[in-house]
Point group: C2
Chain length 434, copies 2
């Protein structure tokens, strides 16, 4: 693996600041529409502009791994067809875009056709980047699993017996994955009241969830799939991983607690999952590789082992914005805390022969660090309701209130530049009234 | 609700026997292709013929709930667009097809264009009837849940506390749902060996699943969806339910046991789910309505209550065919044993505001009856490995062996006719070798 070097495209003729998440070193992919053209199509982003890729199809080479013919995929309303092309195509495409947007091509400023494809982001609406065939969520932060186990099971043995042997995961709901900025509605459902002295087994009640929570996660989208019955070996896993987003796995803790035994979370999590709209490719993240977490005791079974680093130093923040107030940060964590790598997660998903398709979504699980300010959910930050969390401006929270906006962000610090994910945000609307 | 009467179309000019699953009273929907036309399109079935609906679009009325314009949906490769049209359209379409195929239209035998659309089923390949956006599996047979609880938890309190209060379910894997006849491959994965005297905590091992099982289920496909944030009330649930199929929820018991705590079944079930290819509409099942199972102790919360019957008398059988042998029946059960109705399942899926889309799949859960020969899985039939199950021809099984074919079927007995689902079958191939 060649690490990314800044020789060719260290800067762009498009201007942006050093902390902008979308320099020429990034080149993420997403889907946009505009007022004059409401049909979604594919785009990349540079600084504060979206570049409409459906309008620059003729700028790709006639030969190679990604030609102007291949660029027809950018007319589609999602990136699934592009993701299906595979890594050589993604890399060739990204290299062409970096060249076009690099300082040496400043003459494009005078190219009216090209400039018409460069749209200020304030003028675009972001859409789901993929038609997600299946969405799986993992549970791969050891600190998070330890916190949950300590609160709800046994502080002396917080991890369940399988946790260190395989990346535990479950199938989630694909229909309700939405892009950043989409409001979400507080769910209704069954909750089981706490036993009282008078009533050791109170009947369940129905109503709006009271313990509305977020989970700070990242997620990856898949590229080419595998045939049903043919597991993806760990040595090939990277070829199937397209890129990453920041993800908020909204969770209703009171509903979850009552419903999840024995088949797992269901309506507690199927009401909404929010993702940041620009998919950052693995190639753009390669300069931020860090060593994997050591897996020595126990060592995973051979089918899950890989020696190469596939962990990334991605700073994550989560804030809560109360109505009419500024955002108060409640969590600072980092993707590098993940115990299981994305390769291991994908291998586990398909170990049974389960077929993966281009554009599937795989969530990391809540990303908690070791310190109390790095926990990735209100459940952990308020330690199961035992303490309040300061969100600034004189406001405190245990869980999320109506009209609170939850705003996550992720970024990697380079030498003089930032590769980031932008925002993953959503406001919680009051529950439906019946 | 008007019950189906046999006045108009009690018989067809197409000939079939009284036990054929597809008389004119059925009119199911599916997707077919032929050698000369390999692109999948929509069809119905009458007796031993598929009727290619993409070839008879001009036979629908010019006005009404389903016109020849609406019939353009039959050109698509799946039924999602037809399912999205809603119940008035489905009923009008079915009525037209019953009229065309009814005795009074025997002159169609001389209509070369119509007859060209009538293809012997031996000459068609069946395809997935829907592009499934999300697949959910429930756990709604009280007898099945009781058997599992008795075997693995506490025979005196076999049901978990939530079971009688809500239809417990989990999200399954949509990518690996296949139509009847598709071979499936024995999955590989992690299993935890039983503790021995020498080793109380043996390390997990990796290899082919040893406890390969089926689950006799039925499943429904949805029609029109709901908006995210707007739950489906039980009074409207039927409008969203299109029709039913027989389903085999293949399960790897040894993998399941080790992986499923705390987030539910994952790779134990994501390797394959088989459905019968013809979707039988709820309208076709209405003559076979039977009372719901009484839900008195406890009564469900009001949001789950409905007074009208929405339970159906559907005989189900499951057999195992060893290589070179005839099929030996191992289970005879009936859909009417379901404790929770399909309406209640759909309401629970969306209670949180989760959006349902046309063509989603909802499995019933394993359908076990009260007697030992009515249990819907080998796990129950062999009582956790304690006894062998006779499959005839001198063969016995505890779980499914390589090259065994599992064959399920479902049917409703009418007065002189049968409304059936055909077969849901699949052969288990040997695990992949690495
Ligand atoms: Ca999660
Ligand atoms: Ca099942
Ligand atoms: Mg979610
Ligand atoms: Mg399955
Ligand atoms: Ni899905």
């Amino acid at each position: 693996e060649t690490k990314f070097t800044t020789t060719m495209a260290s800067s762009s003729w498009v201007e942006y600041s050093a902390d902008n998440h979308f320099p020429v070193q990034n080149i993420p992919f997403g889907c946009i529409s505009t007022a004059s053209e409401p049909e979604p199509r594919c785009a990349t982003r540079i600084g504060d502009f979206a570049l409409d890729l459906s309008k620059i199809k003729g700028r790709f080479p006639q030969e190679g791994a990604f030609t102007d013919k291949d660029a027809q995929v950018f007319d589609k309303s999602t990136l699934n067809a592009f993701m299906a092309l595979g890594r050589p195509a993604w890399r060739a495409c990204r290299a062409t875009l970096q060249k076009l947007l690099g300082k040496d091509n400043a003459s494009l400023k005078d190219d009216a056709e090209f400039m018409a494809a460069l749209i200020p982001v304030a003028n675009v609406t972001m859409h789901m980047p993929s038609q997600i065939g299946d969405y799986t969520d993992f549970y791969s932060s050891k600190e998070h699993a330890t916190n949950i186990g300590t609160m709800f099971r046994d502080a002396s043995k917080p991890l369940l017996p399988n946790w260190l042997h395989l990346p535990v995961g479950y199938h989630g709901r694909a229909s309700s994955v939405v892009v950043s900025g989409t409001p979400v509605r507080r769910p209704r459902g069954q909750q089981k009241p706490k036993p009282t002295d008078e009533d050791a087994d109170p009947a369940p009640v129905y109503g709006p969830c009271k313990l509305c929570d977020f989970e700070v996660e990242m997620a990856f989208f898949t590229g080419p799939g595998n045939n049903m019955g043919e597991a993806i070996p760990v040595s090939k896993a990277q070829d199937h991983i397209f890129g990453m987003v920041v993800m908020n796995d909204w969770s209703a803790r009171d509903i979850q607690k009552w419903e999840y035994v024995p088949l797992g979370p269901f309506t507690a999590k199927n009401w909404a999952t929010t993702i940041s709209p620009w998919i950052v490719t693995i190639d753009a993240l390669m300069p931020f590789q860090v060593p994997n977490i050591e897996q020595a005791n126990p060592k995973p079974l051979p089918y899950l082992q890989h020696e190469d680093s596939f962990n990334f130093d991605i700073d994550l923040t989560c804030g809560i914005k109360a109505p009419e107030k500024s955002t108060g940060t409640v969590c600072k964590t980092n993707f590098k805390h993940m115990y299981w790598t994305m390769k291991q997660q994908l291998v586990q998903q398909s170990v049974s022969g389960c077929n993966v398709r281009p554009g599937d979504l795989y969530g990391s699980g809540t990303i908690s660090g070791k310190t109390e300010d790095s926990y990735g959910s209100m459940l952990e930050l308020c330690w199961g309701g035992k303490k309040t969390v300061d969100i600034g401006n004189g406001e405190t929270r245990k869980f999320i209130l109506d009209n609170d906006e939850v705003i996550m962000s992720g970024s990697c610090k380079g030498d003089g530049f930032t590769v980031g994910f932008g925002e993953c945000s959503g406001k919680v609307l009051a529950a439906e009234t019946w």
